[in-house]
Amino acid sequence: MNKVRLYQFAVIAGFILLLEALCLAGVIDKITMTPPHIIVRDFVRMILAGRYFGEIGKSLANVLLAFASAYVVGVVTGTILHGYKTARDILDPLFATYYAIPVFAFYPLFIVIFGLGDGPQVLIGFLLAVVAVIVTTLNGLDRVPLVLKKSARVNGLSPLQTALRITLPYCAPSLLTAAKLALAYAFIGVIGSEFIMARSGMGYEISYAYTNFDNATMYPLILLILLLSIAANSLLSHWEAVLLARRGQK
């Protein structure tokens, strides 16, 4: 385990040092990229000055909204769909093809319909996330042992009680995986939409800084987005591993 951590640290450190060397040696010119130590300095300055806190908060609020709605709708839909074999069979090809479809291509359409505001961005995040939640919930429910469902029936539990007390708690690891995927997709959807076309938000600020050759703003913001998404992902992955380990690596 420690060896793995050391390896990872070496890869990251090596990568940053390489970038630094290439920047300082002039292989990567200043207009293309500022050296990593300058990016970190700008980053610290940006955070200390509280610049873009409003934008960051707004983006994160939209990500959270997209995530929460996709998660709730996805788990509920997945649970209901699990009971209807025919409906599931019909929707199955849609689920299998869904992530091949460029959902961002619908963004212009949503702007035309809902106007250029938070709505289309949250909707894109929601659409990207919801199907992953449905599919993961269905997969988790498929693995619930028959004996648990039978004991629910023997005890005369209603479908809702069965879901809340037996099947959903049993697939807690799947539900956590679903949350991890949903958060990543919501993030990609919202930030991506902001980048494509918006009036505010982190993604918008990056594209604005880019258009103005403002590397001192662009790189710290990109760094912030990388850190946020990687931190969220690592945290949930860690939790997932702990949960799986406790259940004996099911």
């Binding site: 890869v11 293309t32 093809t97 992530y99 091949a100 460029p102 291509a105 035309v112 990609i188």
Partner: protein
């Protein structure tokens, strides 16, 4: 997921497609002419568009960028996947890092790509490729790792060189999983290429789409979206059929 024999999957697909078109028509009736076009109007407009030369030029440009990007994504993805899969420590260390990279909104890296490669086809290709490399690498990595140890031991006993080992044992054993990776990589590379075209191109379907947005040309937006979805869904359905056969055949 279970797949029953006979015509049931086909019938389900037909029901699904009809259902989606009904939903579209319904949405059109609710939203109206301001922001949407009916399925019929969209198909008709697309038909008209296909008679113009300019459309085929844009399409050819997109296809060229996309195929190069896909080739790069597959080649690099396989290389990384095999490299990490064959070395236990590297695989253990790099897999979570690749997963984390996979979860970042790559679109925000676009300015860096653009500054590095400049406006033009190479930026599009690079952007498409970075979307596709990670899934191909991750699936290949897990495929190489789950190969039965006895196959690898046999190769060692026969004293095969690393190249022969990959070609004669690892690759054939890992093909079904690798194919799944390529299928996912295909979709993501397509998304990446189109996104790349939306920002920094003078040609291609993504450029047409972005252009349609700024001109508020609803006909064109609908036709482009429809075309992209149909293309992605059709190719994916084909790849999925091959994928399932490889896994069960």
């Amino acid at each position: 997921m279970m797949q029953r024999e006979g015509s049931a999957p086909f019938r389900n697909t037909v029901i699904l497609i009809v259902g989606l078109f009904l939903f579209w028509e319904l949405a059109y009736l609710v939203v109206g002419e301001v922001a949407l076009r009916s399925p019929l109007e969209t198909v008709r407009f697309l038909g008209k568009l296909m008679q113009t030369d300019i459309f085929w030029l844009h399409l050819a440009d997109s296809l060229k960028a996309f195929s190069v990007a896909l080739a790069i994504a597959i080649a690099l993805g396989l290389l990384i996947g095999f490299g990490l899969g064959l070395h236990r420590l590297s695989g253990d260390a790099m897999e979570p890092m690749l997963v984390a990279l996979y979860s970042i909104p790559k679109i925000t890296l676009y300015p860096i790509i653009l500054l590095t490669f400049g406006l033009g086809i190479s930026a599009k290709i690079a952007f498409g490729a970075i979307h596709g490399i990670i899934p191909v690498a991750l699936f290949t990595l897990s495929a190489v790792r789950t190969i039965k140890p006895i196959l690898i031991k046999t190769g060692r006993v026969l004293k095969l060189s690393p190249t022969v080992m990959v070609r004669a044992i690892l690759f054939p054993a890992a093909v079904p999983e690798i194919f799944t990776g390529i299928r996912v990589g295909f979709s993501l590379t397509l998304i990446g290429t189109v996104l790349g075209e939306m920002f920094a191109a003078q040609h291609g379907l993504g450029y047409l789409l972005m252009n349609a947005i700024s001109l508020y040309n609803v006909d064109l937006i609908m036709a482009m979206t429809f075309l992209l979805v149909v293309f992605a869904a059709t190719v994916n359905a084909l790849l999925l059929a091959i994928d399932r056969r490889l896994h069960h055949g």
